[in-house]
Subunit: 290 residues, 2 copies
Amino acid sequence: MLYGSIEAGGTKFVCAVGNEDLEILHRESFPTTVPAETMAKVIAFFKKFETELVGIGIGSFGPIDIHEESPTYGYITSTPKLAWQNYDFVGAMKKEFSVPVAWTTDVNAAAYGEYVFGHGKGLDSVVYYTIGTGVGGGAIQKGQFVEGFSHPEMGHMLIVPHEDDSYKGNCPFHGNCLEGMAAGPAIEKRLGKKGADVPESDPFWTIEADYIAQCVYNTTLMLSPDVIILGGGVMKQQHMVKKVHEAFTNLMKGYVKTPSLDEYIVTPALEDNAGTMGCLALARKVALSA
Amino acid sequence: MLYGSIEAGGTKFVCAVGNEDLEILHRESFPTTVPAETMAKVIAFFKKFETELVGIGIGSFGPIDIHEESPTYGYITSTPKLAWQNYDFVGAMKKEFSVPVAWTTDVNAAAYGEYVFGHGKGLDSVVYYTIGTGVGGGAIQKGQFVEGFSHPEMGHMLIVPHEDDSYKGNCPFHGNCLEGMAAGPAIEKRLGKKGADVPESDPFWTIEADYIAQCVYNTTLMLSPDVIILGGGVMKQQHMVKKVHEAFTNLMKGYVKTPSLDEYIVTPALEDNAGTMGCLALARKVALSA
């Protein structure tokens, strides 16, 4: 018995299969090009395991249609990646594999991985952010994704520009929203080099930490979760979590008594496996409830 | 068979009893002074109906302890109203009445009222804000309050100061957070008169609408609810909803396709009864599940 996982990101697709204990047995990545090409590789990957496959979990870049009663349920909808606009992802998988398919956003899948296996284990309410090429967020409360007319798009929340930051932001919609100011491309355009090449001593990291702390502050006030997990490339800078803690404390000014910051604002326990583990766990959930 | 409702606000307590159909039969208000005085009136009110009372729903000003396993569950905790700090509200009611008691924030109760009887009826995900003496928010998804380590404190989210507004904000914690810039006292301190006396033509309302729209924008991105209900004194200005719609459209710039704004950003269907109706519905829920 095997579970399948598809982490469908804007740059690459990571496919994996796991056993009953959700141990990852095989994993392969394919570049995200056009559906015909990328999906052929995805389907070929899972065809090798078809006889044992009992469920597939997909965490996809978005926006996506998550409403089961909608005629376009399972589609990627208005993505700027034109080749993937209105692509029937779940339908493509269901056509090839007669197993239940779980369908959510890539960041929700990572949140679910941490909820089941990582820093959210045993907690009621978990929020996960990825701060990298873009900024995305997902929230889970008592096993349910926080959602309504659609899935959240937390990365585009408003932030207050830092007084020492003259950058105007690069979000094509909102300019200086969180993603426009704090995602990897904004760092690179602002400083002329990638974040990974910006030394710890650069004063910019104080500005970046302030933006991330504003996000964590708003999340605390809006959702009051048990834990906020910060993933993605920017948070691989080891010094960032502490800077975010400091900036968060300065913003909150003691108004809300959160759990200890070392347990409340953390990086992913599963590191880069959160998405795959979340998709496997969702595959198991959908298979068991089918 | 009667259900009891206590809307415990910072200015007044509204007590009510309703029948099986949650029709309000009796209602009385008492000023919020000190617990000994106010609660004596609350208890005397319900004693008149004690033989028929089967459950009580309380929506209280906060912060409050909502964790059932906590030793201070049912307490008002670190409120600036010193006489009510660490007050065991649920304990005081349970001591006098041997019926199940539901316990949540005042704004969650109003959200629940709209969820069961108002603009949230039949929807999965509802957010309610009150914009008056303070700003508070509550969210419900599939019958559960959105919460984690505590209840939300949405009114203190960060907002970007409007370019035509030089007011520095009056939140004692955060200065120019949403409550510090947009609640009734901030309007009065800024303009030298109460919001109710500021004419529709005053350009300030465009600024106020921008702040409320920032709140609605962030809420849309964080929770993606089915409806956002705006209550409280400020929204009694009939012209405000339309101004908020316009400001929201300007902020969102088409990024997220929300439901039609006339159905998505609305004032309470229950008007000032949302809190009482919510408490009655919570009383019924807790009585039926006891």
